[in-house]
Symmetry: C2
Subunit: 361 residues, 2 copies
């Protein structure tokens, strides 16, 4: 039995893996690990009255952030917040209609709307997020690291122009094809806004940050580079990368971005999120030792019977193979009606199997 | 000025390109080229009373198939039919609810439903499709080739189990994770059904066939191979590949399958359909000279102003580059409210620019 490397227990296993340093076992956290599948979340959500109140009240958002890391031996906590806080702070009026997802009261419709936008000061306009970050860091007391996040400029622009989620991206694509200069102006404001927002999260205590490029996969290949990848690179170039003498890893996740991994690896991020459609082995062959990989169990696999779930988790670990640089995650968020017992089994399987394979062979 | 290669005018430019033979200009056809964006289609649709009546009446389906090739100098006609004719012939009861898309009266819910399925005899149960094929061939009189098609087994299974379109594929994924043997039985029936259906289309006169794997992109990488790619390979292995002394090319199109092109190129198909998220140049580097490529303008680009549309079409041609093996198409279907003038411009740009670049340099 070889002793595990120093400093790679739950308190920093995740950060080490994101930096491609050796760890005692594969760290795991799950997108939407704080959410509706947890009974304690549903109770707090009812108490809060509205989803927005839950996000905007630091004590409540902190509690939601902590719920999954109390219940499960997760290797990271992710800030509980909404992806659309930045456009909301820009004055678009975020609303949640029950059963319909987010919607803006004042979506971007023309050049005058774009001209009116200004970069929010996170310390003023997004104070509640920064307060949540500080509170979570204090409450976590070093148990595991806290991950901050933002939507990517393209993803935020999509919501701002569509006014809500979209299945065909007709309005934002219309803007791209009819007035690319206006789209570029919108993205420029968003690059500044997201940069300030993520840096403020880091200053408030976020130990890693992730950029969610949820809608990048809707773009044609060369448009992806120009309108989604490049704005993310511009943000990453200006992020605080070391805080209190420790590196702050940056993760980029483009859903449906499997064919663009070489281009994404050039953003100077530390790790790439990989959705479940892409083989980790293939991804690793493509990116080499440039970045760590985070992923990628099919979220639907959490509905499997226990034995099958275990097999699927082992298949993800085997697909990545040995060596540093893997953070286990789902390929997308935990679904609202998943059994928490399955989540527990998933996490336990990752830890147990990876610890065994790395230290007993 | 070099004379164009023999036999590569509108009557067989498409077939030659699918086989990676030289052509005088890049052939073009568009997924859903027969459809709602054409006023003559809307008129016939009203006359037919229902969408199903339009599909199931050979004279009407033939007329719809011919409408776009009469209006535009397209290099191929694609059979007008629905992707769900096979499950309908298996007794699931296809219905179209206005504004909601297809739905089955009797979806597959358990092993008894699967056990009851039998392989339809296309000459009996899908006679109307074969009659349409024969009629279209006669009416086309060699103007351009006719492409037949079917949904892939995975895509048909998805609709059959979900009962309708789905955004999360919960039921079919549930089947995959809880009873993979039952899913395999369902796919086995579908492989036999699709093989018989496509071969009957070829015997009736289809000069190329395409397998639409619309939902393959929902699968995890290794599941894609087992549950979507392998069933398609099994079909292709049994297709009639030569008819009346002429090769019958096979095209496979997995939407969202950009990361699986090497695996798709191994299906023994002649060409791969490429969606708009994947660079044709990158795809070509991956598949080499194994298969031709068909694609891949973003369908939303058809909403661009004329100059911009022309640029986008030229970018697709340039992305493929020179040499044989490109069939121009969209990365998905023509949208219902596109201006037919834009479609005309797109086709003209493909022909004019590709003819110039190949013969005047």
């Amino acid at each position: 039995m070889i002793a595990p490397p120093q400093d790679s227990d739950r308190s920093n296993r995740l950060l080490r893996a994101l930096l491609r340093q050796p760890v005692d076992m594969t760290p795991v956290w799950l997108m939407r690990q704080a959410g509706r599948y947890l009974p304690e979340y549903r109770a707090l959500r009812t108490q809060a009255g509205s989803f927005l109140n839950l996000c905007q009240t630091p004590e409540l958002a902190c509690e939601v952030t902590l719920q999954p890391v109390r219940r499960f031996p997760l290797d990271g906590a992710i800030l509980f917040s909404d992806i659309l806080t930045v456009p909301d702070a820009m004055g678009l009026g975020l609303q949640f209609v029950e059963g319909e997802g987010p919607r803006f009261e004042r979506p971007i419709r023309d050049k005058h709307d774009v001209a009116r936008l200004s970069v929010p000061d996170p310390h003023v306009d997004l104070r509640y997020v920064l307060d949540t970050v500080s509170l979570v860091r204090r409450e976590l007391a070093g148990l595991c690291p806290l991950i901050g996040f933002s939507g990517s400029p393209w993803t935020l622009a999509t919501y701002m122009v569509e006014g809500q989620g979209s299945s065909d991206f007709r309005r934002i694509k219309g803007l791209l094809y009819t007035d690319p200069a206006l789209l570029t102006r919108l993205l420029t404001v968003l690059v500044a806004a997201v940069t300030a927002y993520l840096n403020a999260q880091i200053e408030a205590g976020a130990q890693a940050v992730m950029i969610f490029d949820t809608w990048g996969g809707s773009l044609a290949a060369d448009h992806f580079l120009r309108y989604s990848r490049d704005p993310m690179s511009a943000i990453i170039a200006k992020l605080i990368r070391t805080r209190d003498g420790k590196p702050v890893p940056v993760v980029v996740f483009t859903k449906g971005g499997g064919t663009w991994l070489p281009a994404l690896a050039e953003t100077q991020c530390d790790a790439l999120g990989i959705d479940w459609t892409c083989s980790l082995r293939a991804a690793r062959e493509i990116v080499g030792d440039k970045v760590a990989l985070q992923g990628n169990l099919d979220p639907m696999a959490l509905y499997s019977p226990p034995d099958r779930l275990r097999e699927e988790v082992l298949a993800v670990l085997a697909d990545f193979g040995t060596g540093p640089g893997h953070v286990f995650n789902l390929g997308h968020g935990v679904l609202p009606d998943v059994d928490p017992e399955r989540v527990a089994l998933c996490i336990d399987t990752v830890h147990t199997a990876s610890a065994r394979s790395r230290f007993s062979q």
